[in-house]
Symmetry: C2
Subunit: 471 residues, 2 copies
């Protein structure tokens, strides 16, 4: 059983932390990004790994829970604790430095509190690419991105956050520090603790530093929006793109026309690339080496696809600005969704070939349930759909309180039956603990619990996230 | 404390396994690949995951140790137990099928006993690439390759075995089965058990099946051998290659002239590409998409490098056969090494920029110790050197019995001081347990032990590998 933060405990914190580590207005740290609920806790922001370790030691002694807080952009409540004794919310924001850049090694070492855009910029300064990229890159921090194994738009080409990391520095639940900040490409000395910490959502320790992999910058970049007659055609187009352009495909995103309609309905306003919006479009982004033209590659792909009836229309970006316009459409859809207010949002993944059947069957099942609008979009190249269900025009999220659990159940049951995942890239947090219990393989659940108990025997690290808190 | 295999135990095994699972001549399973020592154990080869599970349950009941056996090509004794009660050696050889291929998903699912070359061929049949590639690919099996997180020549471009795997089927130490054979590209539901099992060398469970990632086949492939004035120049050439050819570099191998000399001395005979063998050569392999010529790319690289004094000579393969010749040199060096017989072999990795200093300092330190020949070669692109020390001409391995521990200590201490790893790709096995204890971060060692005890509380899985057996 955990204990709450007490006045005596706060006094002890003041003994080990400078005043700068205590925040005056802490409301922002306790609010869900979509404003759906609030967490609780005493917010502190240590300025160094040693200070983090000191806080953790104090919490371990007092058996006070710790909720690690990074950019606060997570959508599954991993950074927000609502129930149980008041915890310490440990923000990494003051540890936000790039520690070192090794261009000849293609490695960058940074604090866990470094903002993703800062890391991208530091890589660009030395002519390299840090390929992790997602809508919240201006505020999401490396520690949280790694702890949730964040995905984003370039996973198809470069892998998720896990694939971008070489080494970690981690403060363990007993306050000792694992110095695993290696710059090595290969190291087979013992179990893979790095990948265990990545994606553990702060339940096994606090990531305080990371050695990240940099990539060569593609020389020629380009993008196209293509209208496809169906999700199946989009998948065939993806395969064709692989044959024609190989690993040069950086992103392959699908968007249903519902997303465009939402943008028109509630903004943010975007220029529309088609006179008539097609039911399904894909956004293809390429990055090619010297000697190849992105425009020519995309034109060649379009022509071949058109001959096979895989595309009906298309626009190839003729400038950097136009490419950005295409991406703005894709990246403002989540904001339009937020303005509409979803009945239920789902971050799912499926074996690629199951995607068309899923879209058909889920659509039919939900249509039978009532009048709703579905905005299905996302990272088709990874089999990752954001399958979000919205109120019918003129209704609001609140009108669907009773149907919400059933909507979610229908979608998740179908995903599970098709061997998919009900959290592709957002993680488990606190929102999907029950889903993990429901859909998780029993042997897997046993192993997760055994690992949690072995590495955090007091249960103080991000209590109730990923796994239910034991009493 | 474990129990040995007894006649009663063997009887029980016969009740759950068909006769085909019992091998007549088992000597080959118990021999170290370089003939250095022998293991022990009763060899059984179950024919299905359920049979593996039944064997494991029996072993758990009787507290008999299990040594998983895959291709038997490992070089650190992970597949060979010498000490302690006689174990069951569990060979995966009868589970060697490709279960399914999903070309549109770029996924292949196979038994853990499938041979690497078989998997490569199955990928090629559907126009895809399974990029894991190493000298023993004709006999190494997927289960062992994953359990040791094997590396090989294409890690620079495609990553190690870990990066090629999407899902696993694993028999746990209590005989239950973890059904984690997912084909998903993204799944953030809980801790990363897949990567924990990969590289665990059979100490946490037995991998019985795997879902593997396939890649597009590069359209144009080519190779060049280039003479470089120094390891530092080789690193600069690597960076230049990254700028010129981007991700198209599939392999970047370095070879010291000692390797060529050994080939000339003891074979296998190879055509020599240079009239005078340079001190250092690099083998660069490229795979490019449609529209780019590998020969032109390599010529362009050579010219730019020559202008910067990074190369002094070079040969660009003019045919598939000549490319194969280059690779034959690289891939027969380990056989020449075996024929010479090393004083001490080291599979090390370093932060890339430390490689030149390591080669200098290790060479100096060993020269001070006595008359030895050093064959340093390997995967420079990954910072992974096979730094092998051999007897002076006219002497033999046996003449260096007394110096061997000191040679190893000098090399490993230096690697450790430079923040490298003393097992880059071969794993810990039983040979490097002490090294892991000596050089491992204390917090890491505690976590490894906690995980082992949590997931294999009886300590029956590959006892004494990775971690010392508890009594």
């Amino acid at each position: 059983m955990l204990n709450p933060v007490t006045p005596e405990f706060v006094e002890k914190l003041h003994e080990i932390l400078p005043d700068a580590a205590f925040k005056e207005d802490t409301a922002a740290y306790l609010a869900e990004p979509r404003g759906r609920w609030n967490g609780k806790g005493l917010v502190v922001a240590p300025g160094s790994t040693d200070e983090v370790a000191a806080v953790v030691r104090l919490c371990a002694e007092a058996r006070v829970g710790i909720v690690p807080y990074s950019g606060g952009t997570g959508l599954v409540g991993g950074q927000l604790l609502q129930d149980g004794p008041e915890p310490v919310v440990l923000s990494l924001e003051r540890m936000n430095k790039i520690r070192d850049v090794f261009p000849t090694e293609n490695v960058l070492v940074c604090d866990a509190g470094a903002i993703l855009a800062t890391v991208q910029d530091a890589a660009e300064e030395v002519g390299r690419l840090f390929p992790l990229s997602l809508a919240s890159e201006g505020s999401a921090r490396i520690g949280g991105l790694l702890s949730t194994n964040a995905g984003g738009v370039n996973v198809l080409r470069y892998g998720n956050a896990r694939a971008q990391c070489l080494g970690l520095e981690v403060v363990r639940p007993d306050g000792t520090i694992w110095h695993g900040l290696t710059r090595l490409r290969k190291d087979n000395m013992g179990y893979d603790l790095r990948n265990l910490m990545i994606g553990a959502e702060g339940t096994l320790g606090i990531i305080t530093g990371a050695a990240l992999k940099l990539m060569p910058r593609p020389v020629g970049v380009g993008a196209a929006l293509m209208a496809v007659p169906s999700p199946k055609a989009a998948l065939d187009l993806l395969a064709l793109a692989g044959e024609k352009i190989g690993e040069g495909i950086s992103a392959f995103e699908i968007m249903h026309r519902q997303g465009y309609d939402f943008l028109a309905e509630v903004g943010p306003e975007q220029p529309m690339p088609f006179e008539e919006i097609p039911d399904w479009t894909v956004l293809i982004d390429v990055g090619l080496p010297v000697g190849l033209s992105p425009e020519a590659a995309l034109e060649g792909l379009f022509e071949a696809a058109f001959a096979q009836d895989l595309v009906t229309d298309g626009v190839i970006a003729q400038s950097h600005g136009q490419r950005q316009d295409f991406w703005n459409i894709r990246e403002t859809i989540p904001e339009a969704n937020r303005r509409i207010g979803s009945v239920s949002s789902h971050d799912i993944s499926l074996p690629l070939s199951m995607v068309p059947r899923f879209i058909d069957e889920a659509g039919d099942a939900l249509a039978a349930l009532g009048d709703m609008r579905i905005n299905c979009f996302g990272h088709l190249g990874d089999g990752n759909l954001h399958y979000n269900v919205f109120p019918a025009l003129g209704k609001s999220r609140d009108d669907y309180e009773e149907q919400r659990p059933e909507v979610k159940r229908i979608v998740h049951d179908l995903v599970h039956a098709m061997e998919g995942s009900v959290s592709a890239e957002h993680g488990v947090g606190r929102l999907k603990v029950k889903d993990l219990e429901t859909y998780g393989d029993p042997a897997k659940l046993q192993m997760l619990r055994a690992i949690k108990d072995a590495l955090d025997p007091l249960g103080i690290m991000n209590p109730g996230a990923v796994l239910r808190q034991k009493h």
